[in-house]
Amino acid sequence: MSVCRPVHSDLEISWLDMARRQTATLRTLRPTPPVWEIRLDLEYAPGAGSYVLADFGGPVREPLFPSVVDDTGFCTIVPRGHAATRLLPNTPIDVIGPLGQGFRRSAVGYALDRLLLIAEADELPWLQPLYQAAPAVALVVEATTRGRLPPPARFPPTLELTLVTRDGSMGYLGPLESDGSTPVGVERALPRVRELVAWAECICIAGDMARYPALARLVQEVRFHPQPGFAQALVRVPMPCGVGVCDICRVTTRHGERRACVDGPVFDLMDFLE
């Protein structure tokens, strides 16, 4: 499987170095309201959580994360009105990458059986390449309200799906990390999430970075002292250079400031414990 490539071996590092500049071909564009899905053919596609920097003609390059990865390229999601949506199929696009540290299955060993994915609905595409990364995968998706959740029919039946809405209009009542008062007729998400955290061998998260400290506390409460890489969180911030020189993507962790473009964009969730 092409996702979750180990990035720590010498072989992987030299492979990354060789693949730094590539020409991708825009193969298809498809509106999937409210966003567009584009497919790029590329010799060395990024794995889940890593990215390429694409030149769409603007003054800075844009990071593209994969929502689907296969042997000939990857798909990604862009907002409506994005420069890519005005291009014709077969347009060549200059990209640098794959770059960054993606989700690492190697962090918890290769015999991964139970994987938990947690995403806010808008960030869900970046976890999609992990849907089959383990024999048992559970997915928790949170949105503000029912209308922001993808239709359950879009998810593969092999996923154990937990839907959470902040207003309780569908599934469990969010936010995930909150155990506040619960109105009659709905169930809080927190007990369910605790159960899943206890069940999982590895957790991959994509959401608002401001919530990571609270999620890290939740994981710590359940697992006490999780091993490094047990819970991994994607940080999506602007990364114009991709090589750690511009200082624009610095994020604060308990080990000091780190650059999302080279030290991440996937970090150990426990690095965000305050």
């Binding site: 500049r21 030149d55 800075v60 090589v243 020189v245 200082d247 624009i248």
Partner: protein
């Protein structure tokens, strides 16, 4: 060879009149597989302060049409850590290293200059000022840097202070002058998705190709009149742009944040300038005749 510090005891000779601008290239090795470093004249490092500095909070980049503003707060790991981690890299780089110092206080830049004087591979310092610095403060910082260390000192002049500071700092002992730091600007930036966009504004250093005519304006006014070599920096986006700067009297060009989009611009500019050097010498001779005529008319 191009001598960037003809009045300095050691000098600062470089082979090719191209280098990255401070804050765009890290500490030397980040672009090693995208840029042929041996083609460059020198490397200018990210800004370094004596003590560690944290990054600015909040949004750090705003993009609008062909421009972008950046506000990072110039984070720095501190001089000791930079020397510890980047020093071994500088030693083996095929080109000289110019360390960009953040001009904080005279005592700090003086100490930093003294430390850096003994670091192998470091051949010069570039001093960067804030927009609102007074001439007296800038002069004191320059003096402390030059006196405490023994490396040539290049002064990078803020965009809005070129006329005020460039001639006076050249006279005060700068070995070379970089024209210019990016101007401060405000751009509208957009938050959220297309449906619920909220317009906000962001202030920061402005980058984009439209800085180039402003750079040419500054060069046409000051290059050749300061008594020290001038380094051109701002919006240079092609070999032709670089050639225009050299024709107007710049000794060297620096490529700024445009290289994040096209890192190999450094290579192509370097190759083009090396090839066009003889033609350039002729054009400079012609230009000096024109300038003489212009001054006589005035």
């Amino acid at each position: 060879m191009i001598e960037l510090a003809p009045n300095h005891k050691y000098g600062l000779p470089i082979a090719v009149p191209v280098m990255p601008a401070s804050g765009t290239f890290g500490y030397g090795e980040a672009y090693h597989d995208l840029v042929d470093l041996s083609l460059l004249g020198a490397i200018v490092t990210n800004p370094v302060s004596l003590r560690p500095r944290r990054a600015a909070h909040g949004q750090r980049i705003g993009v609008h049409n062909d421009h972008f503003v950046v506000h990072t707060g110039w984070p720095s790991p501190g001089l000791r850590r930079v020397i510890r981690e980047a020093g071994p890299i500088w030693e083996r780089l095929p080109v000289p290293v110019i360390v960009h110092l953040l001009a904080t206080r005279p005592v700090e830049v003086g100490r930093a200059a003294a430390y850096l004087s003994g670091v192998r591979g470091v051949c010069g310092l570039e001093l960067g000022f804030t927009e609102d610095i007074s001439f007296a403060d800038a002069r004191d910082l320059l003096a402390a840097t030059a006196e405490e260390g023994d490396l040539p000192v290049i002064v990078k002049i803020p965009f809005s202070r070129v006329d005020d500071l460039a001639p006076r700092l050249a006279q005060a002992g700068a070995d070379a002058i970089t024209l210019m730091s990016p101007p401060r600007a405000v751009l509208p930036v957009v938050d959220g998705e297309a449906d619920d966009q909220v317009a906000r504004f962001m202030r920061g250093r402005l980058y984009g190709a439209s800085l180039f005519p402003l750079l040419l304006n500054a060069l046409s006014r000051w290059a050749g009149k300061l008594g020290v070599p001038v380094i051109a920096c701002g919006g240079i986006a092609s070999p032709e742009d670089a050639l225009a700067c050299l024709t107007l009297g710049a000794a060297v060009v620096q490529i700024d944040a445009l290289l994040w989009r096209v890192p190999w611009l450094l290579d192509s500019v370097a190759r083009a300038l090396v090839q066009s050097q003889p033609q350039l010498d002729t054009e400079k001779d012609d230009l000096s005749v024109d300038e003489g005529a212009m001054e006589a008319n005035l």
